[in-house]
């Protein structure tokens, strides 16, 4: 096989075919994808049970493309799987579109695609449609990936940003800031060594366990769960502010209740960052009415991806649209939305 990606790999001719068959199909192969038709014609399971389809898309441009705990490929699969899972959907099919920079070593592309295959397998989804384009050197930062995904939301499950109500409790599935600080530690000029790893992971397994627990609980059902969100860019603080605005409610969180790894705290102290604004790629926030909180928390903690789950706050009718944080000292202060990205500081 060739050593690096060339413009010809994107032109649709022999080299494109060679790449598709020799690399993409080799790892992502399934009967639907292997047909290489213009479109994947699918019959998603569960149609007879009613419910609705969920459909989402995301693009991934992260740099560096390989980092402790993951890579851009794993991220691309998890990100879309998680968006579906947050809507209550069982993810079924994904598409993957690649924009490759001329000169990208094939070995790196192979590593990324192998990772996607492994992640898809772990999440129980198939990548059934794909596309490849190659752009001139300098026009893309190594590679960009877009994934779109469909899944089925079971009948009786209704979640939304605007469905959160005063009295709801807020559950967080685990430690915050792991992904963002891992990426930060790889950046030129900021490098430090740490045991940190990205928390990049598919959350659909955890969500399935959570939904099952609610259904099995005596006083709760799916109606108790109002919203789920994964706090990616902008972190937990951003999601809380979005929910407060969309649902027209106030939110109060306890700083002491929010799980943070010591290494994340240390890295944040060093660079002057707040873990509540740092990206996560394997965590979720759940907004649930009180009767559903206990069964949900138990189910999360029993699952490998929710061992450190905690109740971090509650929803209130007061100060609608604002998020208040009770600091470790017991004082209250506003936890606002940031204007843009958090930057490391020395002052």
């Amino acid at each position: 096989m060739d050593e690096t990606i060339l413009l010809a790999h994107g032109s649709g001719g022999q080299m494109s075919h060679g790449l598709i068959e020799g690399l993409f199909l080799k790892y992502l192969g399934n009967p639907i994808l292997a047909a290489l038709d213009d479109a994947a014609v699918v019959d998603p399971p569960g149609a007879s049970g009613g419910g609705r389809l969920a459909f989402t898309t995301d693009s991934y441009v992260i740099s560096p493309i390989f980092f402790p705990g993951g890579d851009i490929g794993k991220l691309a699969v998890c990100g879309t799987v998680n968006d579906l899972a947050m809507s209550g959907a069982t993810p079924i099919y994904l598409s993957a579109g690649f924009i490759l920079e001329e000169g990208l070593p094939l070995a790196e592309l192979e590593r990324v695609v192998a990772s996607m295959a492994e992640t898809a397998r772990a999440a129980g989804v198939s990548i059934v449609a794909g596309d490849t384009k190659v752009v001139e050197h300098g026009k893309a930062d190594r590679l960009f990936i877009n994934t779109a995904g469909i899944g089925r939301v079971p009948a009786g499950l209704e979640l939304g940003n605007d469905r959160v109500r005063p009295g709801d409790l807020i559950l967080l599935s685990g430690t915050v800031g792991d992904h963002g600080m891992t990426i930060m530690s790889q950046r030129e000029g900021l490098r430090f060594s740490s045991p940190l790893q990205s928390d990049c992971a598919p959350l659909n397994g955890l969500v399935t366990a959570m939904l099952a627990a609610l259904l099995a609980a005596d006083d709760a059902g799916w109606g108790a769960l109002h919203c789920m969100r994964d706090p990616t860019r902008g972190g937990v603080a951003t999601v809380l502010n979005e929910i407060a605005a969309r649902s027209g409610v106030g939110i109060e969180v306890e700083e002491a209740a929010i799980p943070v790894r010591e290494a994340v705290r240390a890295a944040c102290e060093l660079l002057g960052l707040d873990p509540l604004y740092v990206a996560n790629e394997g965590k979720l926030l759940a907004f649930v009415s009180p009767e559903g909180a206990e069964p949900l928390l138990a189910a999360m903690r029993a699952h490998a991806d929710g061992r450190e789950a905690a109740i971090i706050g509650r929803v209130t009718a007061e100060h609608a649209g604002r998020v208040a944080l009770r600091t470790v000292l017991g004082a209250r202060r506003v936890l606002s939305m940031l204007a843009g990205e958090q930057l490391p500081r020395i002052c």
Binding site: S193, S194, E262, R265, A266, L270
Partner: protein, 84 residues
């Protein structure tokens, strides 16, 4: 201004040293604290140790704060002499 974080010196090699803070490690310069030794805690600011932390003083401060009662402890905590 002046974000500076306490870190533990793990090794020293000339003007460079490895500092550890909560499991995170970074190589820093000890050009401003040349007498630093392994096991010392230093204040880290922009990749430099700017001062060595006096652990006795730290413990003493915490002890005084926990004993904060009317009278003696206050004298030590809030006056310039700092002597009990």
């Amino acid at each position: 201004m002046c974000l500076a974080v306490p870190g533990l010196i793990k090794w020293v090699d000339g003007m460079a040293a490895q500092v550890e803070i909560g499991g995170v490690e970074r190589t820093i310069s000890v050009a401003l604290t040349p007498d630093v030794r392994v096991g010392d805690y230093v204040l880290v600011h922009t990749g430099f140790a700017i001062g060595v932390i006096d652990e006795q003083e730290a413990l003493e401060t915490l002890r005084l704060l926990s004993e904060l009662l009317e009278g003696s402890a206050e004298e030590c905590l809030f006056s310039s002499t700092g002597e009990p």
